[in-house]
């Protein structure tokens, strides 16, 4: 069984998703236990896969035992292992967290089952994007992750349905771009396997057809990652979608597509060694810097915490392409650490957002006064994750910025260092504004009369236990990743390959 972990990583969530309606129909009481144990098992598999990668190098798995150019190949290396680990971990935590979100009538239970079906399908897609070693298989995984995320966003209500439709239109256009790029690559080389492409493509990089393929693939993946000129779908979908779905979308799905950009630029198109790809990386760096600044400035302008989180996601997700664009080992380690760090802190912030929603019945920043009195644990978690977003020392966000700045200095990108420092300041502006409201300002008397008239009945003093527990797990994770970042960099991120030969 150990030898089949790369394929089991995909199959376990897929099988869970497929069997969940049947389990719900036959044995409704076992649904949640089944779901959570499967996700926990998947997390264990991800840890085992990572251990194997660390001890024995990249892991190749031939499906159906067909040799690579003819069959499909799965590859787990240090970077994709990180994505898989983040995805599996966040999936488990969010599944823990999401329990109080559903009403316990018949429709609510059906909705819960279908929600988890789509959720696990999305987990499948994200893990598949990370491990696929074949560009068409990558497309199919992108589509399963995307379609389930459209459905999940649309479950949030009437505004969410419209936001999801726009997301669907843009996402599908992005997918056609990607598929067109795949077609051009296939026409020029006759293969779809990434490892073979990395040897076949370099001699023909000068051809306009390959250049067009590069542009189309990057446009497609860039739209899905919400890189800056192509981010139009993200704010509405983030604001109106149901929280557990959006938390997973922002933390895992976007990272997987950012990882796809890395995969293509470094392991298919040859990285900094190719002049054309080096130019593409340069442009990617500019766009990422623009995204960081644009997202931060727009976040400052927002009055609603939900919308602020959406723009903050645009800013934070751009750190990964920035690290990819710089392309030194330190910068790539920073990008990989950002995948871990941002998923935990942003996931935590989304959970806090729902907590505010539940307890204070508002997400307007100006109405959060005195939140620290009513919700002490949430306020603590908010502080930790805000510190991580800003990049203050004990949290993992600091080490992300540290690695990226170091990488930019090594590669001689002075302006990128300036952007990183500036973005830290901008993040500080918008998060300290919230922290000021939460901790320092005195509450107005009628804001939280503390009678919960929402659809949920809060059992404990602050929030339902699963929500608090998930929040605390993530907050502890942020600190742990900060403390352990040296270890992570030394043992895992140092294995991230820079060139096409790494596959």
């Amino acid at each position: 069984m150990m030898a089949h972990i790369p394929v089991l990583l995909v199959l376990v969530p897929l099988l869970t998703a497929l069997a969940l309606p049947a389990v719900n129909w036959m044995m409704p009481r076992l649904t949640q236990i089944f779901l959570k144990s499967a996700l926990l098992f998947n997390l264990a598999l991800a840890v085992l896969a990572m251990r194997h990668v660390v001890t024995e190098g990249p892991w190749h798995y031939w499906l159906g035992n067909w040799a690579p150019p003819f069959g499909i190949e799965f590859v787990v290396d240090a970077m994709s292992g990180t994505v898989v680990l983040v995805t599996a971990g966040m999936a488990f935590v969010i599944a823990l967290y999401a329990r109080p979100f559903f009403k316990m009538d018949e429709a609510g239970l059906q909705a819960r089952t279908l929600f988890y079906v789509l959720f696990t399908l999305m987990v499948t897609g994200v893990i598949g994007v990370a491990v696929a070693g074949d560009i068409f298989t990558l497309y199919v995984f992108i589509e399963i992750a995307s379609i389930s995320s459209y459905g999940l966003v649309a479950m949030g209500g009437r505004r969410a349905a419209f936001a999801a439709f726009r997301y669907l239109i843009l996402g599908t256009v992005a997918a056609t771009f990607y598929l067109l790029g795949t077609g051009l690559i296939f026409a020029m080389t006759g293969t779809l396997n990434m490892a073979q492409l990395s040897t076949l493509l370099p001699p023909m990089m000068g051809s306009p057809a390959i250049l067009a393929a590069l542009c189309f693939v990057m446009l497609g993946l860039g739209t899905k990652t919400a890189m800056v000129p192509l981010h139009a779908w993200l704010p509405d979908a983030h604001t109106y979608g149901p929280t557990p779905a959006i938390a997973f979308l922002a933390t895992a799905l976007l990272k997987a597509f950012a990882y796809g950009i890395y995969r293509f630029l470094y392991q298919v198109f040859g990285g900094h060694g190719q002049p054309v790809t080096a130019m593409a990386l340069q442009i990617l760096g500019w766009l990422a810097a623009a995204g960081i600044l644009y997202g931060s400035v727009m976040a400052i302008a927002q009055k609603d915490f939900r919308r602020m989180l959406a723009y903050s996601t645009i800013a934070q997700i751009s750190y990964i392409p920035l690290g990819i664009a710089i392309g030194t080992p330190a910068a790539l380690a920073g990008a990989a650490l950002q995948m871990i760090s941002h998923s935990m802190s942003k996931g935590c912030l989304f959970m806090i957002k729902s907590g505010m929603h539940l307890k204070l019945h508002t997400t307007q920043i100006s109405e959060l006064r005195g939140m620290s009195v009513v919700m002490p644990f949430s306020s603590l978690a908010l502080t930790i994750s805000a510190f991580s977003m800003i990049g203050l020392p004990p949290t993992s966000g600091f080490f992300v910025k540290w690695q990226l700045v170091r990488g930019a200095a090594e590669a001689g990108f002075g302006w990128m260092m300036a952007v990183l420092v500036l973005s830290g300041l901008l993040n500080a502006v918008y998060f300290f504004r919230i922290l000021e409201n939460v901790f320092i300002r005195k509450p107005e008397p009628d804001v939280h009369s503390d009678q919960s008239h929402g659809p949920m009945t809060s059992a404990g003093p602050e929030l339902p236990l699963p929500m608090l527990a998930a929040m605390m797990i993530l907050a502890a994770g942020i600190l742990a990743a900060g403390v352990g970042s040296g270890w992570l960099t030394e043992h895992i991120f140092s294995l991230i390959s820079l060139a096409g030969g790494g596959l």
């Binding site: 069984m1 089949h4 394929v7 199959l11 897929l14 099988l15 998703a17 497929l18 069997a19 969940l20 309606p21 049947a22 719900n24 129909w25 798995y61 031939w62 499906l63 159906g64 035992n65 059906q110 279908l114 079906v117």
Partner: protein, 150 residues
Amino acid sequence: MKATTNSIILEVACRLLIPVLIVFGIYVLVHGEYSPGGGFQAGVVLALAVILNRVMEPADTKKGYWTFKIIALAGMGPVIYILTGLWSIPFGGNFLEYSLLPLAVHEAERHLYGILLIEVGVTVGVMATIISIFDSLGKVGDPDDHGSLL
């Protein structure tokens, strides 16, 4: 007063077509390795047979179709596929390695049986999904569904 059918023409046509569609669907499924065809096409044709049956009935009897159960059935299709793929793992193969399936036939023929099994899975999945989409859409105009529609 309840009608038993929408119209006599529809009913006669459907009664003629449905058995043909079912037979043709099964033919497309099992003959997929030798001629154009396969699981998807078979699934769509078989779903069409069921949908025609539903179209034939008058609108007011459309209540109570087993939509949630059919979602469960749609999930079972890919599960058949996955189990076929996993079947070779105890015998030392990789996922979907049909040549190691424990069947007492020639190696290439094992591939044929493997392909047939997964095509059955695909057929079940596609058929049940299309029926479930039709049933969901059939609920759109229900009186207890608030709001005006289309």
